[in-house]
């Protein structure tokens, strides 16, 4: 699988590290409930199909990316820097 890094161009997936779903936002730890924190830490959807996910280009530009990928076909719809949207950051 090749990931079209918005900074470096298309690169082999071995240059990247996978984190997972880009959608969960970390709750404010001091204010949230234990159940909400449990959901954030442990619960993930496992969709067969389109998924926004975080990849780290560790062997390249050292940027975090949000890659929109079909988990059935590995077809990549979009790859964009995670920074502007602060994907994965605290809510």
């Amino acid at each position: 699988m090749r990931i079209p890094c918005p900074h470096c161009g298309a690169r082999d997936a071995q240059e990247f590290t996978y984190l997972g779903d880009a959608n969960p936002k970390r709750p404010e730890g001091m204010e949230t409930t234990e159940a909400a924190m449990f959901d954030y830490v442990y619960q993930r959807d496992n969709p067969a199909g389109r998924l926004r996910e975080l990849w780290y280009h560790g062997a390249g530009c050292h940027a975090w990316l949000v890659v929109t990928r079909d988990t059935r076909t590995h077809a990549i719809e979009a790859a964009e820097p995670a920074k502007p949207t602060k994907a994965g950051a605290a809510a």
Binding site: H7, D12, A59, G60, C61, A63
Partner: protein
């Protein structure tokens, strides 16, 4: 290293010392791959702060008369190069260390700067078969149509992080600069020498070792 160099009994040591040896190896005949060790380079990483890229770019323009590349490219003038190393991240690479400390000092308020001169190992690679040799492990397309003069890339070769860029063409055609972490120099050479041997490889180690810092 500069502090250590002043103490008696301490001698600066090339990153390639004990790894490269001058001469030819591999296939006989004219060398298809030409390797030159780089010594005495000034290397520093520059990281722009959040929203500070414009100010850094302006200062670099004034001080070095170079434009900060915002794509995987290099900007070169008068023995100094700025090499793109990621979004908001660059390397300043100078041919020698004369005035290097002054350059870093001039930019120090505008970027997080770290001297990497003794932490990286650099080889200049050229020769008629250089792309064939590199293709054994380098996933970057180095064909001139995809990687023209001035292009830069970060990648992984044989599990070793490599920063590479293409300098001006020389008498042997395309010229690539390959930079690895100093601690990985031996591992990189192990891969490269095995890959280049079938084409015949000529190694040059320049006399000039570490030049005093300016």
């Amino acid at each position: 290293m500069s502090d250590a160099a002043m103490k008696p009994g301490w001698t600066p040591r090339s990153a390639w010392a004990g790894i490269l040896s001058e001469g030819s190896f591999g296939a006989k005949g004219s060398a298809g791959v030409i390797v030159t060790a780089r010594e005495g380079l000034g290397i520093a990483s520059l990281i722009a702060p959040e929203d500070g890229e414009a100010a850094l770019s302006q200062a670099v323009k004034t001080r070095l008369r170079l434009d900060l590349p915002t794509t995987p490219r290099i900007a070169v003038l008068a023995g100094r190069a700025l090499v793109w190393a990621g979004p908001g991240l660059w390397l300043l690479v100078t041919e020698d260390r004369t005035g290097f400390a002054d350059d870093l000092q001039a930019l120090s308020g505008l970027a997080a700067i770290a001297d990497q001169s003794d932490g990286r190992a650099v080889l200049t690679l050229s020769g008629g078969k250089i792309r064939a040799a590199l293709a054994k492990g380098c996933m970057i397309d180095l064909h001139p149509s995809a990687f023209p003069v001035g292009s830069a890339a970060l990648t992984s070769i044989a599990h070793i992080g490599v920063h590479l860029w293409r300098a001006e063409d020389g008498p042997n055609g395309a010229v690539f600069e390959f930079m690895v972490a100093r601690s990985m120099a031996g591992s990189f050479w192990s891969w490269f020498s095995a890959s280049a041997a079938e084409f015949g490889c000529q190694v040059t180690i320049p006399r000039a070792c570490h030049v005093g810092r300016g």
